[in-house]
Amino acid sequence: MSRLTPENVTLAEEIIGRYPRPKSALIPLLHLAQEQDGYVADDAMEHLAELVGVTPAEVLGTCSFYEMFKREPVGTYVVNVCTNISCQLLGGEELLHHAEERLGIRAGSTTADGRFTLEDVECIAACTEAPCLQVNYRYFHRITTDEFDALVDELAAGGRPDEIPPHGTLARVRQHIPDDRAAGPAVPGECGEPVWITARPAPAPEPRS
């Protein structure tokens, strides 16, 4: 795996078309590659480089900066347990240790059956719902160790496909700008003062008498 499929190339071109400069689409496109394969494959990065007109090294440079991008296959379910301050105060670290015991792996690794990857993550903005975790970036709030075990059992038995899509899929609704409604990207050098500004100038300041 794998270059983008023809369907995903069409999607990629639509995404690129929204930006004044193609490279701006790179992070959404890396997500698209990860959605397709579950991780970002080398071939996919080379393909993205062609699509946005940069070198593969530049794509790798961007990809390797962001921790959501996995450059090797990960588990079907990526379980991210927050241990940052608000969760730490209410048992986030203990929850992570429990998860390590339950799954039989250290945070940062994947179970032998390829089902679960466990991560110790930074604050995921659910601080009043501590301790919290995400499975494939879907939230679980105020979770106990018993609830964690039940969740793992449920996922191992086939999961909650409606609620938790495979790793790599983020939003299941995509933005689509209809051609007849699009204002179009604002390209530097091709785009002057907006008409609504020109048409409604601010009154000149009162001359000093």
Binding site: R18, P20, I27, I85, L89, L90, C127, I177, A186, W196
Partner: protein, 454 residues
């Protein structure tokens, strides 16, 4: 107690069923603010926001209307970038605004674009927030279909695309120049200011306004009800209402919209309407008043109002509206270590004092926490802090391009100053007397609350 009957300006649809859909939004004053804005000249909209005295809600607390005015005249195109990369530990409000009221945010972005003259707007949502991305994508699709976004908005000559963009996991991208780098498809490393002030040289080196989600979510109400009505709420520099997330050892952790500038920390933490006091009848030991980058506050700061100037002068900040409460059972060495580890992990590596300093701070704190600390470690911690932020003062001085490095100094300065005996005990120093509890973490003494409104 200063609990007021201020309206819920940004959270009015949080508890409304399907509040994220356009039908509910339109039936609850949705897009009326945009209609009101389009009936004015752009400069009049800017004036309305200046009248409201709306402070940015992202962390720095700069007046939004003034920030808009920094774009150099005659340089086009301009861009609006919405900062939805909420990641400051303790902070939980922008995600709610994006998930539960995406149209309010879109309307706010449109009002700002109209006022500033932005030819394109980008809504940068944190990568980990899949539901927020989904709700915003759906809301944008609805809004395009109804003619609220895109070409000739509501039949006028105002045209702008609002593009959903999403990140991929990097705290530093919440810094506005790093956000712009990321939006250009690069590694999210901050740019040097000057020359790269976003208002002058931002996205594609064009004038760019970067506004926080909560800041923009206030605009529909301000345009509908008037800037003066907004400014009637609050006190001093802090007008309107504001969302605060109260987490940690409280009975009712939650996100509360309260009147800005007048409600106090004690109200927020102890009132049964809000966080309801400390769990299990325990005592408060310390609290973070505005996100993990903020120096800690203690019991003597509880009666300070949630007012930017007062909190700044008391030696900390309201930052991102994140109040994290520690009760008496809290191990402050571990708490400080956890916060410092965050900065060590999230340092982008561009500036040496931050890249090296934060990871050394983490290592030293870790060995203290593990009982392997050395007698010289406390001095060493302070010395490393001083190299990242000379003088360990507030507001912090920087040896770095952005404030991430100095942010790691805050928890250490707070914890080591106030709870020195707890650190000393871990190191094995013979501790007999607890350090007397006086003053704040920094050299500046807190202002007396009596100064408010003086």
């Amino acid at each position: 107690m200063t609990i007021t009957e201020a309206p819920r300006i940004v959270s009015s649809r949080f508890d409304v069923a399907d509040g994220h859909t356009i039908d509910v939004y339109e039936s609850t004053h949705g897009y009326e603010g945009l209609r009101a804005a389009l009936a004015k000249r752009p400069d009049e909209v800017v004036e309305e926001v200046k009248t409201a005295s709306l402070l940015g809600r992202g962390g720095a607390g700069f007046p939004a209307g003034v920030k808009w005015g920094f774009c150099p005249p005659g340089v086009w195109p301009r861009y609006l970038v919405v900062n939805g990369d909420e990641s400051e530990p303790g902070t939980y409000k922008d995600r709610l605004l994006m998930e539960r009221d995406p149209h309010q945010l879109i309307e706010g972005a449109l009002i700002a674009s109209y006022a500033i003259g932005c030819s394109q707007a980008f809504l940068y949502v944190r990568g980990e927030m899949a539901l927020a991305q989904e709700r915003i994508a759906a809301a944008l699709n609805e809004a395009y279909a109804k003619g609220y976004v895109g070409r000739n908005i509501m039949g006028s000559d105002f045209s702008v695309d609002v593009v959903l963009h999403w990140g991929a996991g990097a705290y530093i991208v919440g810094e506005e120049t790093a956000l712009i780098e990321s939006l250009e498809g690069n590694r999210g490393m901050p740019r040097l200011k000057p020359p790269f002030f976003p208002a002058a040289k931002g996205l594609y080196l064009q004038p760019t306004v970067v506004n926080n989600v909560e800041t923009l979510s206030n605009l529909p109400w301000i345009l509908r009800e008037g800037g003066a009505a907004f400014a009637e709420l609050g006190a001093e520099a802090s007008r309107g209402t504001r969302l605060f997330a109260v987490s940690g050892h409280v009975r009712q952790p939650g996100v509360y919209e309260v009147e800005f500038g007048v409600t106090t920390f004690r109200d927020l933490i102890y009132s049964p309407l809000y966080a309801g006091g400390i769990r299990d009848g325990n005592e408060i030991k310390a609290y973070i008043p505005g996100g993990s980058s903020a120096p800690w506050f203690f019991e003597e700061h509880l009666d300070l109002p949630l007012e930017k100037g007062v909190v700044d002068r008391a030696g900390s900040m309201l930052g991102s509206g994140a109040v994290v409460v520690f009760d008496e059972t809290t191990d402050v060495v571990k708490a400080a270590l956890r916060v410092v580890r965050f900065y060590a992990r999230e340092s982008c590596g561009k500036c040496t004092p931050c890249r090296e300093g934060t990871s050394w701070l983490e290592k030293i704190l870790e060995r203290i926490s593990d009982g392997l600390g050395r007698p010289s470690d406390l001095e060493l911690l302070v010395d490393v802090c001083d190299n990242i932020s000379p003088g360990i003062a507030w507001p912090p001085k920087q040896t770095t391009i952005c404030p991430l490095g100095p942010s790691a100094v805050s928890p250490i300065a707070s914890a080591v100053t106030r709870f020195r005996d707890e650190f000393a005990a871990r190191i094995g120093e013979p501790v007999t007397v607890s350090t007397p509890i006086t003053g704040g973490a920094y050299t500046a003494a807190p202002d007396a609350p009596a100064e408010v409104g003086a």
